[in-house]
């Protein structure tokens, strides 16, 4: 049994955890839930020695653990898979799996590659990863990287496994493979602690649920006694109502953006076309790697475009770089991968929000940045998105995952884009903030007449926001769903229909 008792932890300006006591039993899958910034990741990092608690103790099987760093935790058979993917991109899958235990594979200073690859293969099989172990990690999708991290954690012969949002970038199928595996590990008597913002999967997999709010423990109970509505109420401190957002009259308005026959050699697709109308929310639904993100990146010439045309308001335009797309055509792109592509983690929250709208902070017409104006602009959007941060001069990397996501949306709002392409906006975002971001996206289209392309693999998100959906599968657009009648149907029916056209 792993026991946390009386643990508190503060960061500059934040009480991340206050007097937390929880017990994690052998052969139990224990879910930690809570809004962004509630302290879930912090508790995990304390358990595995990455952070030192200010107060309180962690003990395993009755013995107090005094860990100095993560290496110590691994020696006590405690492994953690982080929320953010942390890998060496230039190394192979196998190297990434074994890099903390390379000594096992070395004789007289020489590395035994055959043994390493065999070892890695064994754990890759266990997580259902069917790839050559020599492949470089750089070329893999986020989902694959996530599975490699899990394989790595398992390979440490773990007794306690901490999974911080392990499914946030996995497809349903991949998540199922993972759950199958987790159940097997549980049968072996392992202690499994995991964080997730997806309540459906918590209901399916967890045995016990502990809920945090603002660094305090609100409740801990067997899953049998925790219906979703109760969990949500504990998380956000009030009842939560999910509303049908109604109609979005756009279908007959002008076509704002049209892409014709977009072709990409590196991504391997040909002749993909679509249209978006003014004030519409167009959904791109599909799994990671199905071509949805790739189509957008190619259209915007972020990745090389090998053919095709783009029309804006009916006129052909040439998007030769993303800079042109943003500054000339006012197209914004909230990337799917905030850490690597969206944020400047070592820069402040304020700088991040204003990075592509600096001209709005000029002294009138003189192209010099007025710092006060810049701070006001940043503050305005930070407040509008309710970004939780001690101050605007806090480094973006110090915020919790969900709040980082809000920053990456805020900067495009600050840049006043007419067309916003939003890729997986709520991965790793808690339910309250998710609803908030949904409301925001909806209002952008419904109230401000902005055009939105929403890329997501979250079915509920699609149904709640998009009023026309393109289905992507194997780098092709395999279907289109539209019509108000369609979206007025009950959610389950729509999901079923989407599911059908998907197979």
């Amino acid at each position: 049994m792993l026991e946390v008792s009386g643990v508190s932890k503060s960061f500059p300006g934040v009480k991340a955890l206050q007097d937390i006591s929880v017990q994690f039993h052998d052969g139990e899958i224990h879910a930690l839930l809570g809004e962004n910034g509630a302290g879930k990741s912090t508790l995990m990092k304390i358990i595995c020695g990455i952070y030192k608690a200010d107060k309180g103790t962690v003990s395993l099987d009755g013995k107090e653990l005094k860990l100095h760093g993560y290496g110590d935790a691994v020696r006590h058979h405690i492994s953690m898979v982080h929320q953010e993917i942390q890998m060496i991109p230039e190394a192979s899958i196998a190297e990434n799996i074994i890099n903390d235990k390379i000594a096992q594979f070395t004789k007289f200073g020489f590395v035994n590659w055959k043994a390493i690859n065999e070892f890695a293969l064994k754990y890759m099989k266990e997580v259902g990863l069917d790839l050559p172990p020599e492949k470089k990690v750089r070329f893999l999708s986020a989902a694959h990287k996530q599975l490699i991290q899990i394989a790595k954690a398992l390979s440490a012969d773990a007794r306690v496994l901490l999974l911080d949002e392990p499914t946030s970038s996995l497809t349903l199928h991949e998540a199922d493979v993972l759950f199958e595996l987790v159940r097997k590990l549980k049968e072996k008597g392992m202690i499994i602690i995991f964080v997730s913002h997806k309540l459906e999967e918590v209901q399916v997999i967890a045995d016990r649920v502990t809920v945090f709010r603002d660094g305090k423990l609100v409740g801990s109970d067997h899953i049998k006694n925790m219906e979703n509505s109760r969990i949500i109420k504990m998380m956000i401190g009030r009842d939560f109502v999910y509303s049908y957002r109604g109609r979005l009259d756009a279908g007959d308005k002008d076509v704002v953006l049209e892409a014709k026959n977009i072709t990409s050699r590196i991504h391997g697709f040909k002749n993909l076309s679509f249209q978006v109308h003014r004030g519409e929310i167009l959904g791109f639904y599909g799994l990671v790697g199905s071509g949805r993100t790739e189509l957008i990146r190619t259209m915007l010439n972020i990745d090389k475009c090998d053919g095709g045309e783009v029309f804006l308001e009916g006129k052909p335009v040439k998007i030769d770089s993303f800079k042109t797309a943003l500054h000339k055509y006012k197209i914004g792109y909230v990337t799917e991968n905030r850490k690597e592509e969206g944020l400047f983690l070592e820069h402040t929250v304020g700088t991040n929000i204003c990075v592509n709208s600096l001209n709005k902070s000029y002294y009138g017409r003189i192209p010099f940045i007025n710092l006060k104006k810049e701070r006001e602009n940043a503050g305005f959007f930070a407040n509008r998105l309710e970004i939780k941060t001690p101050s605007l001069s806090t480094l973006a990397g110090k915020l919790s995952g969900g709040n980082q996501q809000k920053i990456s949306i805020a900067k495009w709002l600050a840049a006043d884009c007419d067309i916003l392409i939003i890729d997986e906006p709520t991965v790793g975002v808690d339910i309250g903030a998710k609803e908030y971001i949904h409301e925001l996206i909806w209002n952008l289209a419904a109230k401000e007449g902005k055009t939105v392309i929403l890329i997501s693999s979250d079915m509920n998100e699609m149904i709640s926001l998009a009023r026309r959906i393109l289905i992507f599968k194997d780098k092709q657009i395999t279907g289109e769903l539209s019509g108000e009648e369609f979206f007025a149907k009950p959610g389950e029916e729509i999901s079923a229909e989407i599911g059908k056209s998907f197979v």
Binding site: K323, F368, I369, G379, N383, I387, S391, L392, S393
Partner: protein, 332 residues
């Protein structure tokens, strides 16, 4: 912390006391180091704070600040220029040949040197961007090429400088050298550019995260190329100042610049990985290096051992800064 109306104000700055706020700044250790060095050298030598020495120091510091700036502008984007010495040598020779062998006027010769340096930077920048190669290797190769051209075309001989050019090296402005005025102008411009202009912010963004910068509509290639051009032009200005200070243009100019340029930045607290800049730290970095070299000579340290002390002082500077940064993190 759930509601943050206070975000639109300046954050928590107003509550902290002045000494603490000073301590939290990344330039504070460099400033303290300057004060300590001045005190130590004044106490232990006779000639340190004399008018002549102050003039002399300010002249040398100016040259080091431009050498440092040549490296700085690339360090902030996370790159490096190993060719600044070579570029400086080449510019010196271009200027010297024009003045001494062709009788060209001072001003046109200086302009020609600047043009050559801009071209050097453009070539480096294009190679880095188009070949997508590591800037270390490209600038290393270019450094050999620049040096080769400089030595080859001058056969290793020095050139006499014109009166007009050496005037700048001798001119006094108050206690300081005229060159020092240029240094102050440089630091002020850098300060303003990185704080108040879009170009400067874009440069910092590229240093912070290149992919994110590109996906924020910043033309990363242009930033990389322009920073390389600026770097070589700063090296050229340093070469001109050096020539005006010494009165001759030697093709050996710049042989030790690469090390010193990194030292100025490192002592000034500029992170090697890029993404941030402090003007005051940079300013102090150039002064510290100058004072240490000058002070050691005055303390009669054996010149052959001088570099040992330099190395120790750099180590000390970066360790103090690292400890300070860690403590500041806890205090914030």
């Amino acid at each position: 912390m759930s509601k943050n109306e206070k975000l639109s104000s300046s954050g928590n700055g107003s509550k902290t006391s002045l000494p603490k706020r000073f301590f939290l700044q990344s330039y504070s250790s460099a400033i303290v180091a300057v004060i300590i060095l001045v005190a130590v050298f004044t106490i232990f030598t006779d000639a340190f704070l004399t008018p002549f020495n102050i003039f002399n120091l300010s002249r040398t510091a100016a040259v080091y600040s431009f050498i440092g700036a040549a490296q700085l502008i690339l360090m902030v984007i996370g790159d490096m220029n190993l060719g600044i010495g070579g570029c400086g040598a080449l510019c010196t020779v271009v200027m010297g040949t024009l003045m001494a062998n062709y009788g060209v006027g001072t001003f046109p010769s200086v302009l020609a040197a600047l043009a050559v340096s801009a071209l050097c930077g453009l070539v480096i920048g294009l190679l880095v961007v188009k070949l997508n190669l590591n800037p270390w290797i490209i600038t290393l190769a270019m450094s050999f090429i620049f040096n080769g051209l400089a030595i080859g075309s001058s056969h290793g001989y020095s050139y006499e400088m014109t009166e007009a050019l050496t005037w700048a090296g001798r001119k006094r402005v108050g206690m300081f050298s005229f060159l020092f005025v240029l240094m102050v102008v440089l630091v002020v411009i850098l300060y303003i550019v990185f704080r108040h202009t879009k170009y400067g912010r874009d440069v910092l963004a590229v240093g912070g995260n290149r992919t994110a910068a590109r996906l924020s509509g910043i033309n990363v290639n242009w930033i990389v190329i322009s920073c390389n051009i600026l770097s070589c032009m700063f090296a050229c200005i340093a070469a001109i100042l050096w020539a005006s200070r010494t009165g001759t243009a030697s093709p050996n100019t710049g042989s030790d610049w690469m090390m010193y340029s990194i030292a100025v930045c490192a002592i000034g607290g500029i992170p090697l990985l890029g993404g941030s800049f402090t003007a005051l730290g940079f300013f102090c970095g150039a002064w510290i290096l100058t004072m240490v070299r000058n002070g050691l000579t005055m303390l009669n340290v054996d010149v052959y051992y001088e570099q040992v002390f330099l190395g120790l002082i750099i180590l000390l500077a970066v360790s103090v800064e690292s400890v300070r940064a860690r403590m500041a993190e806890k205090m914030m």
